[in-house]
Subunit: 373 residues, 2 copies
């Protein structure tokens, strides 16, 4: 293998590929990147056995072939070189690199031992034209997925393809985020699948680093391919049935509050300073304002108030401030709507979930369970 390419192009693709490479002691070749000449380009691949990444870099090819070499050292070296032509040559399991006044030889391993990244070549089930918008939409839901895998389906993001829309949904049972996209060209039949949270985070990162004309979602055999220009991300899917989440989203509210998002975020942040170990802050809904209270028996207490448009009954409700803050951070509008229902009293008192929505923008919804009093 021998190829000359530009430092800038190589650097971008190395950084995309190396991010999923960890420190694998049992299978050292997983610490490596695979470099091979493929269809007249330099293909760089990485895998952690759950996620695989392929990238293609154009250049002047003198000799085909392949090699693998340690991801971190190759990436660090290339990142620090000037933006000039770089010559890469594989010989005797070494990768030789030349660039202006810089030379290096990196010890590699044979490409034959590198795990195969599966190829998925079906037709796309969905195509997104605006990669920037897709990145923002996924960002609004990915944080609500569960970190634990005790219920595997909650550790992923649901993709629900319908006739002319796609829904992205994530929940850890304490809060839930749903984003509906209408403007996509969905090609497929109605279909549901669950993508691991880590895969979505990787996709968001790649969409941030690489401009792409369009992003194609291609479904394989219990795997999914995200196909961008010059970059592919392949991931396993999560087995299991996603719960019927729509039934827990309240449709009607006894109390609706419209207020400034930034002021609300600031006042919750201040309240969080005094909140106790369960992260509780109390919201008191009055006729034309809300008050936010928090207290810790050892530290002290605080109270703030802000004006709000309140429709319906005054009420008091307690939330985990972290869940509120995460939901509010996903909202891009100036005004936000809180939809609330009182706790159901009785022998087994039950809290009713609250809903947070942007005002003047459709398609996003954040549901959060209050803390029972």
């Amino acid at each position: 293998m021998k190829i000359t390419c530009l430092q800038e192009n190589l650097k971008t693709n190395l950084n995309i590929a190396q991010n999923i490479v960890g420190k694998n002691l049992t299978l050292p070749i997983l610490n490596n990147l695979l470099l091979e000449i493929d269809n007249g380009q330099l293909k760089i691949s990485s895998t952690n056995l759950e996620i695989g990444i392929n990238t293609w870099t154009s250049g002047k090819i003198e000799k085909t072939g392949s090699i693998t070499c340690p991801a971190k050292i190759l990436t660090s070296f290339i990142n620090n070189l000037p933006n000039k032509k770089i010559e890469l040559e594989a010989k005797d399991n070494n990768l030789y690199i030349k660039c202006e006044n810089y030379k290096a030889a990196i010890k590699g391993l044979s490409a034959e031992d590198f795990p195969l990244i599966p190829k998925i070549k079906e037709k796309p089930i969905s195509v997104f034209k605006k990669s920037e918008a897709l990145k923002n939409d996924l960002n609004k839901v990915v944080g609500a997925a569960a970190l634990s895998e005790s219920r595997p389906e909650f550790s992923g993001v649901l993709f629900k393809f319908e006739k002319d829309s796609v829904r992205f949904v994530a929940t850890d049972s304490f809060r839930l985020a749903e984003k509906i996209i209408y403007q996509t060209s969905s090609i497929s039949q109605p279909n549901s699948l669950i993508v691991p949270q880590r895969t979505i985070q990787e996709l968001i990162r790649i969409l941030g680093e690489k401009q792409s004309q369009e992003v194609r979602f291609v479904l394989g055999d219990s795997q999914i391919l995200f196909d961008l220009d010059e970059v592919q991300l392949i991931s396993r899917l999560i087995d299991g049935q996603y719960p019927d989440y729509q039934q827990i989203i309240p449709k009607n509210f006894e109390t609706k509050v419209t207020l400034s998002k930034d002021e609300l975020i600031n006042n919750i942040r201040i309240a969080s300073i005094f909140s106790s170990k369960i992260n509780d802050v109390k919201i008191l809904i009055r006729s034309e304002k809300i008050e936010i209270l928090s207290q810790d028996p050892d530290l002290g207490e605080n109270k703030s108030q802000m004006s709000a448009r309140v429709q319906g009954k005054p009420m008091e409700i307690i939330f985990n401030f972290r869940y509120l803050m995460e939901g509010l951070a996903n909202i891009g509008t100036k005004q936000v709507l809180l939809g609330l229902n009182p706790e159901i009293q009785g022998t087994s008192s039950r809290s009713n979930p609250a809903v947070i929505k942007p005002v003047g923008e459709d398609g996003y919804l954040y549901v959060v369970m209050p803390i029972k009093t």
Copy 2:
């Protein structure tokens, strides 16, 4: 105690005072700040028993008195308030705070139990007119002090006051940094003292946060006071005799190399990627260029070259790249001079220290021991 002051002023002084407050479980009052009315101002004090800080904030006083309360919660709360008037009132061991729509009560402890910060009221031994320059000068040496306290005198920075100059010196025996300041008004007799590294870091931080007309160094009984407008930093001194460091600084060099600082830093950074566990990089001095080499038997090797003005004999020398990088980072000029002498061969071969200096600027010197071959 009751006082009204501006959020911005209070915030700056709280942040200066709270930084030395840790999490002290045996003496909980050390987690607190002392607030008291002093000479018509609000005095805020903190101590970790090694370093003490006093700050003064002006405001409208309604009632004198004092209280202590937890540093972190008070600072977080004030930091998040709008830049408006804040009313602070101490009552029944609580601190009550009001600002626009925000109210808080923080549980405090009586001011009587707060440890006394010693008062030093001697005449200054030195006065610095430019606090920004003092900050930069201290920054150039503080990193060379030893982290370990196995030899206590190496864990501090030497202040050596002479007739019309002050020297700041630090070393951990592997490298040494010396900065001489001529433009100060030294009032004292010749004098030497060793200030803990942590104190210097604190002083640098305060000089970065607070403009001051002048900085006065005042010597007390085995303590030193750094007196800025509205802020005082008081610290213990380190007992012990600083070694006669000047005898290890070479005065003549067999080889002198003048070269671009930024290019040298970049090439050492690249070499560091391939250096082995002892952080070694090898510098080969040729007639009109230098080469930088590094290699690790498991990873591979690399080589770069750059042009340089070389006076004297070609030679080869090995350094710990971290020490080189730290020294070069302290140099503000474009060109840098390396002064080198060859290793002394014999039954007990001995390395000769190298010297790094800015070109075209006096008063700074960084000495670094090579790695023996």
